[in-house]
């Protein structure tokens, strides 16, 4: 398989009140075109920082990232149109309707008006929000917001979708619906990159899983291979095996 994302010797150091905090420490990996890739790790492992660098939101301190052949540091304007991002914090405008939120994103991504209208109708139907299209999202439930957030990230038909903790705080029905959506997008040829704390999610959904701890990449393989190599029954056991049992801050 062809890599669509290449991460090489990536590092990120934050400076705060005279202290240097290494959030990501010499990490290298590839994400292949068309796969569902997951990053797992305890709090402070460096997943979100790696995500932020891959999505061009922050610049690395060292190393390189290439997304679809473009350099993340210098060609962010080429990368942003081809990626979709579902942030952990559901970033919807509460005083805009669902449709207006989608239109805003579509317009920022330069989606042609007619195409955008068709996609909005299609996606709202896909996530069962077609009857709430003209309601303000401030009154939406967590599940509704998550579904809307997902479709607002794909309104421009991106090649790659970054999905930060997609099902945190959602009920089982919504989680199932989100997984179904993820598989659907993947079946359309899109590459999905997750960050998650749910091991069952990574196990059931993902082709390959990267385990991070304290800014380093501890392992990267398919869920089955990770279980085999660590002699673990579940991915949770793999996680504990690779990252330890102590509670992180």
């Amino acid at each position: 398989m062809e890599p669509i994302i290449e991460v090489r010797n990536l590092s990120k150091v934050f400076k705060s009140r005279g202290r240097r905090i290494t959030a990501v420490d010499d990490v290298s990996f590839d994400v292949f075109n068309g796969e569902i890739f997951s990053m797992i790790g305890p709090n402070g492992a460096g997943k979100s920082t790696t995500f932020a660098m891959m999505t061009t939101l922050i610049k690395p301190t060292g190393g390189k990232i290439k997304v679809a052949g473009f350099d993340a540091e210098n060609e962010d304007d080429r990368i942003r149109p081809i990626i979709g991002i579902v942030p952990q914090k559901l970033s919807l405008y509460p005083d805009l309707t669902a449709r207006e939120n989608l239109e805003l994103m579509g317009n920022l991504y330069d989606v042609p008006k007619k195409v955008m209208e068709e996609r909005i109708e299609y996606y709202l139907k896909l996530v069962n929000l077609e009857n709430h299209a003209d309601r303000f999202t401030g009154g939406f439930s967590g599940g509704m917001k998550q579904r809307l957030s997902v479709i607002s990230a794909v309104i421009h038909d991106p090649q790659i979708i970054f999905w930060d903790e997609p099902t945190t705080g959602l009920d089982p029905q919504t989680r199932q619906a989100i997984w179904k959506l993820a598989r659907k997008f993947n079946s359309e040829g899109k590459t999905l990159i997750f960050s998650t704390h749910y091991m069952d999610e990574a196990d059931k959904l993902c082709d390959r899983v990267a385990v991070m701890n304290a800014g380093k990449l501890m392992a990267l393989d398919t869920p089955e291979n990770l279980k085999k190599t660590t002699n673990s029954a579940t991915l949770e056991d793999v996680f504990i095996h690779l990252t330890g049992e102590e509670i992180r801050d």
Binding site: T55, T56, L57, I58, K59, D77, R80, P81, I85, P87, K89, L90, S91, L92, Y93, P94, M105, L108, Y109, D110
Partner: protein
């Protein structure tokens, strides 16, 4: 629950509230500072007198009576004050229309015209009329000066000396003085507050980051928010001015276009200041606290509610470094005095400087935040 438990739990809640508020340092400062600032500013600003106000005396009389009169005006110190009320500049051979132009330009708060035969007439106990022109766009100072002059002539030269006080800007009231500055103040505070919600608020909600992840530059985000502010604040100003004219009888003697020009430049600066405060604020509470620290001196030290001529020198120095002072002056010059571009050119230049400085600072801090 018994009353003891109720009180204990109330105590726990109270302690929690204190812990939270004490940890918001940015919130604590204005909490205690504002009342002190208000007392100082209002106490000095509304003292009912003026200090070192520039008065032009056109004295075409060479006699001793006029010299004595001018000396008395120039050395007068109010009973409960320690500073001279007037700073006198002398001239002669200047007509009333030229003197009015000096007031239009904001050079003097008043002009006293002493006729050439003043001393002679006073010596002969004949009636004589002096002309007093005042900058009635500043109704407070104007009222104080007129009152002083009337008392002076009633006390010193009997009733034979009379004052001719033409209304050079028509009949004006305090509201005519207040309205242009309140509009500028409203635009200033409104812009900063809404920019706070637009940046610090959006950052807190996560929507700003979401926008930044799309193919949109930071410049475009700033420009979009700035254009929104310009349109919003201009619309507000138009509604406020029309409302003040229709409901309160406020006069609009000048050009709407000039008002728009002043407000556009002023709003640019306020947008930049709002962005800068947003960029250094952790959250909305911090933003509001810091923005109040900026808004309060602007509100009370810049002559919105009382003239700068009535405040002590240290307050005037604060006023000189706050852009609202120049916006107030320009707005009053246009709306009350009905003057044109030439008379507000200085104010516009200073506002432009502030706008470039604050906007540059805001953009720099907003970009640095991303880095």
């Amino acid at each position: 629950m018994d009353i003891k438990t109720e009180i204990r739990k109330s105590w726990i809640i109270m302690i929690k509230e204190f812990k939270q508020i004490l940890r918001k340092k940015a919130f604590m400062i204005p909490l205690f500072l504002f009342p002190i600032v208000m007392i100082i500013f209002f106490g000095y600003g509304m003292g009912g007198t003026v200090k070192n106000v520039d008065i032009l005396v056109i004295n075409d009389d060479t006699g001793t009576a006029s010299s004595a009169l001018v000396q008395e005006i120039g050395t007068f110190i109010p009973k409960y004050g320690d500073v001279k009320m007037f700073s006198i500049i002398y001239t002669k051979d200047m007509g009333q229309s030229e003197a009015e132009k000096k007031i239009d330009a904001g050079l003097y708060k008043a002009v006293l015209i002493i006729p050439p035969d003043y001393s002679e007439r006073v010596a002969r106990n004949e009636s004589v009329t002096l002309t007093l022109l005042t900058d009635s766009s500043d109704t407070t100072s104007s009222g104080i000066i007129i009152s002083f002059m009337k008392q002076l002539f009633a006390g010193t030269s009997g009733s034979l000396v009379t004052l001719n006080i033409p209304d050079i800007y028509g009949k004006l009231q305090y509201i005519d003085f207040l309205t242009p500055a309140v509009i500028a103040l409203t635009v200033f505070i409104g812009t900063i507050q809404t920019m706070g919600y637009a940046i610090a608020g959006e950052r807190q909600d996560g929507t700003l980051v979401r926008i930044m992840m799309t193919p949109v530059s930071r410049g475009a985000v700033i420009l979009g928010k700035t254009l929104h502010q310009l349109i919003l604040q201009l619309a507000r100003a138009v509604v406020l001015i029309i409302g003040a004219i229709l409901l309160l009888g406020v006069k609009m003697n000048g050009s709407w276009l000039l008002v728009a020009l002043v407000l556009i430049i002023f709003t640019f600066g306020a947008v930049g200041l709002g962005i800068a405060i947003s960029a250094v604020s952790e959250d909305m509470i911090s933003f509001q606290a810091i923005s109040m620290l900026v808004a309060f001196p602007s509100m009370f030290a810049t002559g919105v509610f009382y003239p700068l001529s009535s405040v002590p020198d240290w307050m005037r120095w604060i006023a000189y470094i706050v852009p609202l002072t120049y916006a107030n002056d320009a707005m009053r010059t246009i709306m009350v005095k009905g003057q044109g571009l030439a008379f507000i050119a200085n104010d516009l230049m200073i506002l432009l400087f502030f706008a470039i400085f604050y906007f540059g600072l805001g953009v720099y801090l907003f970009r640095r935040e991303a880095a």
